[in-house]
């Protein structure tokens, strides 16, 4: 699920959906029990190819799990802070935001907090191309934004203003979303590359199969042609013998009575 920019009341989406049905199927199959291939029975191109892709699907699945765990851990810590901020206007948990007017402005305030300044944090997905994260560009953007955040944080600590609290709130939410989108895009990119590799693998193996079959067919046709020639030669020899035998036989009927 994607989180829109300027989503009104800031939300942090900790879902981590990836589109990898084939990968999921491979993982489920692995979890259901070791396959014949995993027991070392790589007897054919089919088995070996499947083993290769199942193995890599497992690895990708492992990384996905790791990514999810990482995001959930981060989400746990970030959400506790957000929870505290969420009580704004109801109690003085965050006194910087507990000025009288904040109660009425709570919803509007957190919304504007996201809209104000913190939108500099771009989605991590923007830095992922073909499953590769441009860490230099992404890191530079985050560092630049981090400097702005440091200023906002220091200002909030000093001024204790509503706006300061909103700004840092929005910053943390947007940064979390950016990182989550980046991780999600990475996994989806990797999954797509695996799919493309599998497709390419199948196409290339099919081409080899076609070539080998065509060669075998040519050999068989040659054999058949040779066989046909041998058949004709044998027939000719047999005919000759039969004809000779017949002629021999006929020769017995020749009457040499001087009438030739």
């Amino acid at each position: 699920m994607k989180v829109e920019k300027n989503p009104g009341i800031p939300t942090v989406d900790d879902s981590f959906e990836v589109t990898a049905p084939a990968e999921r199927a491979a993982i489920e199959k692995r979890e259901a029990g070791a396959s014949k291939v995993e027991k070392g029975a790589e007897s054919s191109v089919f088995d070996a190819g499947r083993a290769r892709f199942e193995n890599v699907a497992n690895v990708i699945g492992g990384w996905k799990e790791k990514g999810m765990s990482m995001l959930k851990s981060g989400w746990g810590k970030v959400s506790r802070f957000f929870g505290k901020i969420g009580k704004v206007g109801k109690e003085a948990a965050v006194v910087a935001l507990s000025l009288p007017e904040i109660k009425d402005k709570a919803v509007e305030g957190v919304k504007s907090g996201v809209e104000r300044g913190v939108n500099a944090v771009k989605s991590g997905a923007e830095y992922v191309k073909n499953g590769v994260l441009d860490t230099a560009a992404y890191g530079a953007m985050l560092a630049q934004d981090g400097a702005q955040f440091a200023e906002a944080k220091a200002k909030w600590a000093k001024d204790k203003t509503v706006e300061g609290g909103q700004a840092v709130y929005g910053y943390a939410a947007e940064r979390y979303n950016s990182l989550r989108d980046g991780a999600e895009s990475l996994v989806n990119g990797a999954t797509e590359r695996i799919r493309a590799a599998k497709e390419s693998f199948g196409n290339r193996i099919n081409a080899i199969r076609m070539k080998r079959l065509a060669a075998e067919l040519a050999r068989e046709e040659l054999k058949q042609a040779e066989g046909a020639r041998r058949v004709e030669a044998l027939k000719a020899r047999i005919n000759k013998f039969q004809e000779a035998e017949k002629l021999k036989s006929m020769s017995s009927a020749i009457s040499f009575d001087g009438s030739f």
């Binding site: 589109t19 790589e42 054919s44 191109v45 089919f46 088995d47 190819g49 290769r52 890599v56 690895v59 990708i60 990384w63 990514g67 990482m70 851990s73 981060g74 810590k77 970030v78 506790r80 802070f81 505290k84 901020i85 003085a92 948990a93 965050v94 006194v95 910087a96 507990s98 992922v128 499953g131 590769v132 994260l133 860490t135 981090g146 955040f149 944080k153 909030w156 600590a157 204790k160 609290g165 840092v168 943390a172 990182l179 991780a183 990475l186 996994v187 990797a190 590359r193 695996i194 799919r195 590799a197 497709e199 693998f201 199948g202 193996i205 080899i208 199969r209 080998r212 079959l213 075998e216």
Partner: protein
């Protein structure tokens, strides 16, 4: 070609009955991944049919080259994913540290406000 026309082609083909049914099911509720899924099903059908007597042998140099190329690509995918997620993991740790600091600021602000109200 309409899905119905394609399905007729599938039904008239030498694909296995289970593959034909699976493709028919996919065509009945198509989505953006339907074409890719159909292609995977057909490839799996081909692979299965060649399983017992595959004209592409494991010791065939051309087959070995395909495996080698594929392994290189798969390793690269793994590496890209690993390095990307590690980078994001480190950034997440920084964010967690930031949030911990924000907590402290919030608590300090609260204390300050309570004191002011006394």
């Amino acid at each position: 070609m309409t899905p119905q026309a394609y399905l007729q082609q599938i039904k008239a083909s030498s694909l296995s009955e289970s593959t034909k049914k699976a493709i028919e099911k996919l065509l009945s509720a198509p989505d953006t991944a339907t074409t890719a899924k159909i292609q995977e099903l057909i490839q799996a059908d081909i692979d299965e049919s060649f399983k017992a007597d595959d004209p592409a042998k494991m010791d065939d140099p051309e087959v070995m080259k395909v495996f080698a190329d594929t392994d290189v690509e798969l390793k690269k995918v793994e590496g890209d994913l690993e390095s990307g997620l590690e980078f994001i993991s480190k950034e997440m740790e920084k964010l967690e540290a930031d949030v911990a600091q924000l907590d402290k600021i919030a608590d300090a602000n609260k204390l300050s406000q309570v004191r002011a109200s006394l």
